[in-house]
C-alpha cells in the first residue's frame, strides 16, 4: 500500500502539470534520517525499495556499495518516470578536513576506470562549494590522494541513471568523514548524521533550482498530459502518439496555447483526430512581427 501523498503516484486526471520529483539517494540510514526529517518525508512501500517521499521529493536509501546503489537507482528511475533529477548525498574519504563539503565534478569507477562528468549547476546554487573527483571503490581504503575523494556508491548511481537522466540532472554532494589524520579505522558511525546534516542548505538549494527549471519546461508535460487524455479515448499506435504530440506542440508554437479539449470532439481514429488538429493549427498561420 502506498502511504504517500495520493497526488504523487495516482494517475494523472487532467493535463494540469504536477510537481516534478527530485530524488535524493543515500546509502545509510544515518544519512537518510537527515532528509527524512528536514523534508518531512513519509515511507513509501514500493517493490521492497527503501523509499520515502512527499509531493516534490523522494529519498532512496540503497544500502552500501555500488552494486546495491546501481540496482536500486535503476529500479526506482524505471518505476517513477517523473523523476527529474537525482542527488547522491553521503560521506566520503579524502585529504580535505573532516566536514568539508564537496561537489563531484568527475565520478570515476575504480573497477572499470570509467569516468563521468556531471554538468555542474551554477556556483550560486551550490554556494561556491569546492568540487572534486569522486572515485568509487569496491572496498574501503585509506590510500588517501590529493584531489580525489573516495566513496562506494556514486559510480553505481551515475551509471544506472544515465539511460534516464541527462548529465546535468545527476549530482553528487559528499562530506569528508575520514582523512589521513583521522583515518577510516577511527571513524565513528554516530558522526554520520551530524556530518550529512551540514549538507542540508546546499541540497535544499539544488532542490529549489531543479524545481524552478522544471517549471520553465512544464509545457512538455502539459502536452503529454493532453496527449494521454486524447489517446485514452481513441486508439493510437506509438507512431500516432508521436504525430499527435508533434501537432499539439505546433498548435502551442503558433497560437501560444494548447487546444481546448472541447475543440476536439471525440473521433473514431487517430487520423481523424489529426485532421481536426490540423484544421485548428491552420487557423494560426506562422507570422513574425507585430501582426503575429
Amino acid at each position: 500500500m502506498n502511504v504517500m501523498d495520493d497526488e504523487l503516484l495516482s494517475p494523472v486526471k487532467s493535463y494540469t502539470t504536477r510537481m516534478s520529483l527530485v530524488c535524493i539517494i543515500t546509502a545509510l540510514p544515518a544519512e537518510s534520517r537527515v532528509f527524512i526529517d528536514s523534508l518531512k518525508l513519509k515511507p513509501i512501500l514500493d517493490h521492497g525499495w527503501r523509499l520515502y517521499g512527499n509531493s516534490g521529493h523522494l529519498l532512496l536509501q540503497t544500502g552500501l556499495g555500488k552494486l546495491k546503489s546501481a540496482a536500486a537507482t535503476s529500479a526506482v528511475l524505471h518505476l517513477h518516470d517523473d523523476i527529474q533529477a537525482v542527488i547522491n548525498v553521503g560521506v566520503a574519504g579524502g585529504t580535505d578536513a573532516i566536514g568539508t563539503q564537496l561537489l563531484a565534478h568527475c565520478v570515476v569507477d575504480q573497477g572499470s576506470g570509467f569516468s563521468t562528468y556531471p554538468h555542474l549547476p551554477p556556483q550560486r546554487v551550490v554556494s561556491s562549494l569546492p568540487s572534486t573527483t569522486i572515485e568509487t571503490l569496491d572496498k574501503p581504503s585509506d590510500d588517501y590522494r590529493a584531489g580525489v575523494s573516495f566513496d562506494m556508491e556514486a559510480s553505481g548511481i551515475f551509471s544506472a541513471a544515465s539511460p534516464y537522466l541527462s548529465s546535468g540532472s545527476v549530482q553528487c554532494v559528499k562530506v569528508i568523514s575520514d582523512n589521513p589524520d583521522a583515518p577510516l579505522g577511527e571513524f565513528k558511525k554516530d558522526d554520520v548524521t551530524a556530518l550529512v546534516s551540514t549538507t542540508v542548505p546546499v541540497v535544499n538549494s539544488l532542490l529549489d533550482w531543479y524545481a524552478v527549471s522544471a517549471k520553465q519546461s512544464s509545457i512538455e508535460k502539459d502536452v503529454q498530459h493532453l496527449a494521454n487524455t486524447l489517446t485514452s479515448k481513441t486508439h493510437h499506435s506509438v507512431n500516432d502518439k508521436l504525430q499527435l504530440s508533434r501537432l499539439l506542440h505546433q498548435h502551442h508554437a503558433l497560437s501560444g496555447e494548447l487546444p481546448e479539449l472541447t475543440a476536439l470532439p471525440e473521433t473514431t481514429s487517430a487520423a481523424s483526430l489529426r485532421t481536426q488538429l490540423n484544421a485548428l493549427i491552420n487557423e494560426h498561420p506562422l507570422r513574425y512581427g507585430d501582426s503575429s
Binding site: H105, C106, S115, T116, Y117, H119, L120, P121, P122, Q123, S128, P130, S131, S162, L165, S166, S167, G168, S169, S213, I219, E220, V223, S245, R246, H249, Q250, H252, A253, L254, I281, P285, L286, R287, Y288, G289, D290, S291, S292
Partner: protein, 327 residues
Amino acid sequence: MDTIYIEKEVAAHPRTLRICERYPRARQIPINRYSDVFNSRTQNFREQKANPSLILAKKPGKLIQATPPGYHVGGENNYYFSHMLNCVYDCRYCFLQGMYQSANYVVFINNEDFFDEITRTANQHRSASWFFSGYDCDSLALDPVTHFVDDCLNHFEKTPNAFLELRTKSTQIRPLTNRSPLHNVVVAYSLSPAAIVAAEEHGTPSLEKRLDALKTLQDNGWQIGLRFDPLLYAENFEDLYHQFFDQVFESLDMGAVHSVSLGVFRLPKGFHKKLVRLYPDSKLLAAPMDLRDGLMTYPQSEELSMRKFCTDKLFTAINKNQFFPCS
C-alpha cells in the same frame, strides 16, 4: 563562466592562463581530452545552454577542412576551420544544436598550429585560397575572451595568397577597427529581419546594431559580406523581407559590398529530428517542411518563391558578380 575544463596538456599555456585570469571565481577542472567532456552521450544541449561551461583544449589532427560544395564566394580553393566549437548565441535554427551533444564552448588554444596549416594549404595552390572561419562558432562573439582574431589577422597580413572570411553576428569589432583594413579579409554578417532576430536569434545583437557595425567597418575600409541565410518561412514573408532589404540597402554602400549570399532554412534530417526533440515548441519548426536529398527544408515551390522574391529584390541593389546563392 562558472566552470572551466582544462586539458592537462594546455594547462600551463599562456593563453590558458590569460583566459582563466578573466574568470577568477570559476571552478577549474583538469581533464585529459576535451572529448571526454564534450562528447559524453548523456548531455542535454538545451539544458546546458542555460549555463554553459568553457573547455580549453588543443585541437588535434586535421585543423583545416574543405568546404562542402557550393560554400564559396567566388574562390576556387575553399576551406573552413574552427578555432572554437559552439556559440554564445542561441539561434533556434542553428545546426550546431543538431551536431553536438554539448552546448559547452570548446576553445582551442593552439592558434599557431591553425596558422601553419593555413599557410601549408594555401601554398599547395597556384590561385588564392579562401579560409572560412565561423563555421562551427561565431567568429567574433567570444573574441574578448579568446583574442583569436588579432592573431589571425596578423597571420593573414603575412599570407597574401590566402583570403579569410570572418562570419559573425557580433558587434565586437574592435580588433578590426583598431587596425588598418586587410585586402584579403572579408567580414561577413548574417542578417535577418528584426522580427526574426527577436523571435529566433536569441541573445544576438539586433539587426540595427549589426547594420551599425557593418557601416563602421565599411567606413573603416574593411570589405564586408552579407549572408541572408537562412531565409525563414512566414505567411508575411514578402512584407517582412521587403522592409528588411530596404533597411539594409539604406544603411550600407551596396555597390561596395564584397559578396552577398542567400539560402533557405535547411538541416540534415537527423539534426532536424534532434532540434524537434530539443525545442518542440519552436515556431520555425511549425512551418511546412519536406525531406529533399536528405535535408529537411521547405516544399520546393515555397523555396523557389522565397528565393525568387529575395533575389529580385537584391538585384535592385547589387550586381550579379557580387551574388553567391547557397545551394
